[in-house]
Symmetry: D2
Subunit: 331 residues, 4 copies
């Protein structure tokens, strides 16, 4: 492995960075053996456990891509950030924060227990299943198609094409995710749902089944790094306040019940999904010496072998290494 003690001051060309990242991807790929591919739905089980890829997109067109960059995978829980953003754009931040809390939970992502334990029974945050299902219920529209329309349009605006919904995964989720159905009915009974339960669950299962690549996610990360503006066109795609809120939420709650550790060790807003993707956001930072992507960048990794918390084993390690080498932490 190329040692990290590079002098970034001079000659830090895209080629050099590419070489480093290629090296790191090779090195961390072995950690894919430590995790397990998600098995709760058949479609996820077919993922290639050895895969590891990363895409980094900077402010001024600099791109680093390495490893298995072309795999298409379903976005899964990463969609929770996007549906929350869309709901905030439709309903306003105050309305949303009234309905869903933004506190880290300390519990597993699919916990029902914590709903029952808290007097208010309000979902802890939009990035656990209970909160995300509540958010899906708040999207405008009567059908899941109507509800997802603005989310898909937002994605199209960012990544340049309308991403497909993987119907096989969607069917699979719909038929197998009984825990989510349990959560949905629980929320229905406690009065948190704004829409029909079946439409809500359908929306949730569909949004999880949107198919993306790490290039797509890195580009979304770039927009968030730039506070919602497209750095090329300078156009606002997500309102600044919403983009900021999304990043705060990702930092405190984005990596399931390992969010605290990710904040401590990596220190950048991120959100992972059970298919093995992680989106990460590096905002512009102030340092005494030049470092790669100091103007900010969007990053995404794909590595379907997961640890016990549900995060990509190799992906987390790769991001941690890069964050340390390039001093990406926001703290």
């Amino acid at each position: 492995m190329v040692q990290g003690a590079a002098n970034w001051n001079t000659g830090m060309t895209q080629e050099w960075l590419q070489e480093y990242v290629d090296d790191w991807v090779s090195f961390y790929r072995k950690h894919t053996a430590e995790g397990e591919v998600a098995s709760y739905i058949p479609a996820l089980k077919e993922a290639n456990q050895d895969h590891l890829g990363i895409s980094i997109i900077g402010m001024h067109g600099m791109k680093i891509r390495s490893g298995d960059v072309d795999v298409r995978f379903t976005i899964q829980s990463i969609s929770k950030v996007l549906s929350f953003i869309v709901a905030c754009m439709q309903r306003g931040v105050s309305y949303m924060l009234d309905k869903v809390d933004v506190e880290p939970t300390g519990e597993a992502f699919n916990s029902i227990m914590h709903l029952e334990m808290k007097p208010l029974k309000k979902p802890f945050n939009p990035l656990v299943n209970a909160g995300a299902i509540t958010v899906s219920s708040m999207l405008d529209g009567e059908t899941s198609e109507e509800k997802l329309q603005p989310l898909l349009s937002l994605l199209e605006e960012i990544i340049g094409h309308r991403p497909p919904i993987n119907l096989e995964v969607y069917e699979s989720e719909r038929e197998s995710s009984m825990r989510n159905r349990a959560i949905g009915y629980y929320l229905l009974e406690t009065g948190f749902l704004d829409s029909d339960i079946e439409v809500t669950l359908d929306t949730y299962f569909k949004q999880c089944s949107i198919e993306v690549t790490i290039d797509d996610l890195a580009r979304i990360g770039l927009i968030l790094a730039n506070d919602g503006k497209d750095p090329d066109s300078d156009q606002e795609i997500i309102p600044r306040q919403v983009a900021r809120l999304a990043k705060a939420l990702m930092l405190t709650c984005g990596m399931y019940d390992a969010s605290g550790k990710f904040a401590a060790y990596v220190g950048i807003p991120a959100k992972s999904g059970v298919s093995g993707g992680i989106i990460a956001v590096s905002p512009p930072r102030v340092r005494n010496e030049p470092l790669p992507f100091m103007d900010g960048c969007g990053m995404a990794v794909y590595g379907p072998a997961l640890d016990s918390k549900g995060n990509s084993t190799a992906g987390i390690r790769l991001l941690r290494h890069i964050a340390t080498q390039w001093d990406l932490s926001i703290f």
Copy 2:
């Protein structure tokens, strides 16, 4: 109230900022009426519910002080950040993270329940009581005096004098805080304590009783904002890695079970104490237009009237207003 739409570009003198902050302190002081002074120990009950003060110290000597700046108060839970820093300096970061988790809990600061619910029974993080008591047990030394020596020296190095321990508060804590004693014995039984239980509790009660002013806390905040270095002497007081870790921890867990909301609305690392103090850290930031304290600053507020979570009602609002006006969020 002076409106926030100031043009910071030119003529942003210390006097102007002072005027704004004075204004905001007056405005938010009325929110002291909404909270209640902590009553669980007699000494805290005597605090003046109307008090509100703020101190801000920037990188190059700029200082803003407003409101009730001269009140001396006990540091309480803010000491948890300091003892964690000292323990990391003594034992190393890896050792500490092995013994105490760094996950937000979603539970109240004095919860025993979450220890019992989790298979490992490992304290969630160093900023809840269970974690902080564990940290106190890890400080070097056989007696509470020995254990606190390095912490007090660190403070002396930062604030220029050795802060006193308020003996009345200490006695009061020691005699009344039965919940902490329960937590201590629980930890003893599960094997997390590295020192004698009574020495550990004594250390914990004493560190909570260290007397400070908001100027002291703001100066500590400044050192953290500058990644552990004193900006005047450029000397490292806290190792960079430890300072970074402390800030990550403050952001995810610093404001009790309102940490997520504070991250979302204010967006800077902070830690509050039950006596009404809050320390907050604004690291250097990148913006397109000049803004106050862009090189970073330490901040502290004092407002003993607390909300139901244990945070200063007026203090939180004042910090939120300033963070919004000056765009301090790290996200």
Copy 3:
């Protein structure tokens, strides 16, 4: 109120007992004002809050009936005892005890939390909703009609006619009981259900909607008091081991999270339902002096005004008074 210090030794005729019981019903009726009629489904809300009635049937034909004895009401949770009995008859006691625990929970009847907290996630007992839904899934048959057939036949054998299912209540339950649906899907996911989820829930909602009178319930109680045999025909209707098990379960878990208090204050196996019915079983007992119904009896009260635990306020008090006066406790 007629004082209880009667000399039971001589002349303890049915007329005398009737007079006492009438008196006690009048006296305790005022406690109906302290409770509230269940409101979670419209059909239950229409019950008359003032109603209070009791039926007692002894071994040799002695019957005491007093108050509002002719009201027809849905059996609700009392059906949980019956479906458990039928499932034990079909599958055997060992199979059942393997799938559902028989431990009191300390939690509310409709808790999901306790499923998640326990490593095995096995329903605590057949008399909380999670356990009862599991039991319904184990009844033989592919449809809810097939599943309920043996239960209705058992009832017919005991009470002499096939009880109707109140379709209005059934529809109402099916449409409004989202918590039960949540529990059902949770159980489905953890693998405890033996049948299709919708068939299981349908069975559960239907069995809760069986319409009975207190005479019917008292007669069921009599069979249980007689260890499963009809005292008139001496024919075994429920196997002795199953009847015994049902009584043990009723004593430890029958009165929701007030079961311990009911055991302490009243001391006989009982099961209540949210419509206001309570079935109670007084097995034969040994005393030094003659007392009413010493050979055992079945009892049932109806009083739809419920306390916060879900038990009939006046009904519980009336049973407690009778149990004390006649020394019914099994302890």
Copy 4:
């Protein structure tokens, strides 16, 4: 093993019963290998894992003793029944039930969690540690000696001599039982303790260290079976209401979180302790055919090898076998 299908009708002499019980003790002794001797305090660890003994005392002097009957062991949690009885005699039943609930908990005996989860934070019942410590605080007296005086006198009255306190075990408990200390301080903070915390804990540790034999316990069981009266002298030793309440409590909460299963499978009031003792109470019962000890009896087993719930593995099986053979169940 002698088969259980004995004809009890004729010739059921003490010798015959003795032979059966000897046989059963031999048979069930092998189950001692499945458990483990309690190890949390050194003194308990020294118990002989292979030991198994039983003592049964009937109403009219009939005694069956078999196996390791002469081992002296500390009474441990069985003392919780006795201190509750004494506290009821001193304070009255209503006062006690106001301070401590009588609900089964579903939680382990040393749980703190359930205190925190319930709004009232009232100890669930006098037979879990939290409840028992609360009860110890309510015993009359300023010192642990004064508090234990009436309990020891009651024991003396029942068993004919004043039982010793095993000082080694007491010291050991006092020094090692940090969880109980944690519970004690927790209760102190929530205001449930009536006495000084150290006196309370001292009382609790001492009462657990009272040394008994199974003959002693069987005799206590006999008094409870006879509703508090000594069957020889016909004198009331424990008020009838208190004896009844104690039996109800033992049935619903006496066997830790296996109480429900014990009620279902064995069906008699019992209380176990971590040293391997179990006291069991068989009240008089009505049956169609003569059965041993139909007038009631007290029973006690000793078998220090414990299962995961803290109950004697062999002891529970032996009691279950006897209860089945002799049809002891109160249901």
